[in-house]
Amino acid sequence: MIAWLLDDSPTSRLQAGLGRAWRVWTALLRNPLAVVGGLIILVLVAMAVFAPLIAPQSPVGQDLANRLMPPSAAHWMGTDELGRDIYSRVVYGARITLLIVAMVAVIAAPVGLVVGAVSGYFGGWADRILMGITDIFLSMPKLILALAFVAALGPGIENAIIAIAITAWPVYARIARAETITFRDAEFIAAVRLQGASSVRVILRHVLPLCASSTIVRVTLDMAGIILTAAGLGFLGLGAQPPLPEWGAMISRGRNFILDQWWVATMPGFAIILVSLGFCFLGDGLRDVLDPKQGEKQ
């Protein structure tokens, strides 16, 4: 099986593609930090998918007799001011975090990629206009911009996702543009143009695949920032609304008791740190593996 994957002379398109993926995969496995990061993300995903099985209690079930209990065998992370089990809430919170991260990536990355590639490929006026817009978005602090959008759209997870996506795409546009410019005049692009390919085809089939790997790396590294922004919006009461177990909102609620009942704010804080770290590690590992120059050497 592995010999088939690593065959120097693949016999089908599928085998060539899988062989390439396998090489990336094994290179990733040789990087310990990337493995740690990947495991953390895997646990996060598992927690989100199997939350009802993992969580011992309902994330919203109140038990006022047991409010603000310290961590114990019954409540691993203690309970909050309404007697809800914090561990259960953290587990369910993984769903919200994952949803936000995935949706922002799905919305922001393609938009940024296309804007950047179009801008870099055509140059001239298209470049000036698109990059002008990008610069305007880049020049504003992310959280403030997201705050403004949430304030305009109204609080809630969906609007928080839209607001974060709006603040996240300019970075990808910049990266895609810089990459595109480096090979816009390359002969392999000239060759497809001479074959009669339309600009749309050149950009979609030939330019974007080359920008994709650096964007994937950047998106992974940005995940931590996205989680923090989402948590920040939650903390300010503009993200997920109660009783949703969003980690940032949980910290915000715990702030009132931070001196006497430290676990209320600390436990979701740990979750945020751990997941952010996981994405950073994975992103670093991916960068080592997916870097185009590295890829040439393989």
Partner: protein
């Protein structure tokens, strides 16, 4: 005499405000192999780029097989005239397999039977089928140049523009590629317009040559004049002397 494959008249080309080629005119007959020689910066590659549509700022007239040429690459022109680039390392997409690379022109023009055509073309350029699904970084320079030639021939063009197709390769590989080009021309009746600064290559592969200097054609001669060293222009003789007069192909 057969029809004219390439006809240039009063062709002047500039990059931005810098004029590069001045008032060039020559004709290449169908089935002929014509060389443009000259030192670096003499504008010979620029002429190829103008003909192919990659250097759009030109005045004068370019006609391919009797049809006037527009200023940008276009679909119909692609089926008639293709180009092979100098650097086989830069002319293949690093993330596409040989198969993708060869099937792409067929996909662009909506031509069916891609599988068989790719297989036939690999055989025609002397590449084993086991190279078909390799990525460019798994190929040698000579193999890459064979892929580049195959790609240019996928649409069965009648005119091939060759931009120093062998100068980036080892000497032994150069000879292989030159033999391949000679064979393909014989088999498919192609017209070649080749840019080179290597006179032995010219005498091996071409029927006529134009010597260029500072963006102008200083002499158009038969290749027999080159072989016997009877070039008329003083600059042409200088070039001839610089190549040591040794005109046996590499």
């Amino acid at each position: 005499m057969s029809a004219t494959a390439i006809h240039l008249e009063n062709l002047s080309i500039s990059y931005g405000k810098t004029p590069v080629v001045h008032d060039v005119a020559f004709s290449v007959a169908e089935g002929e192999s014509f060389a443009l020689v000259g030192e670096s910066g003499s504008g010979k590659s620029t002429i190829l780029r103008a003909i192919s549509g990659l250097a759009p700022e030109w005045t004068g007239a370019i006609a391919i097989l009797g049809k006037p040429r527009g200023h940008a690459p276009d679909r119909d022109f692609a089926k008639v005239c293709q180009m092979v680039f100098q650097d086989p390392y830069g002319s293949l997409h690093p993330r596409k397999t040989v198969d993708d690379c060869l099937a792409e022109p067929l996909a662009i023009h909506g031509i069916g039977g891609r599988d068989a055509r790719v297989r036939d073309m690999l055989a025609a350029v002397g590449l084993d089928q086991r190279f078909r699904f390799r990525f460019p970084h798994q190929l040698s320079g000579g193999q890459r140049q064979r892929v580049a030639i195959a790609r240019a021939l996928m649409l069965s063009p009648r005119v091939l523009l060759l931009d120093e197709p062998t100068s980036a390769l080892d000497v032994s590989v150069q000879a292989e590629i030159l033999n391949l080009l000679k064979k393909l021309r014989r088999e498919q009746g192609l017209t070649y317009l080749m840019v080179t600064h290597n006179l032995p290559v010219v005498s091996f592969l071409c029927d006529r040559l134009a010597v260029m200097r500072h963006g102008r054609v200083v002499e158009i001669a038969d290749v027999s004049a080159l072989k016997t060293g009877r070039l008329a222009d003083p600059y042409s003789r200088e070039l001839y002397a610089a190549s040591g007069g040794a005109l046996q192909p590499a």
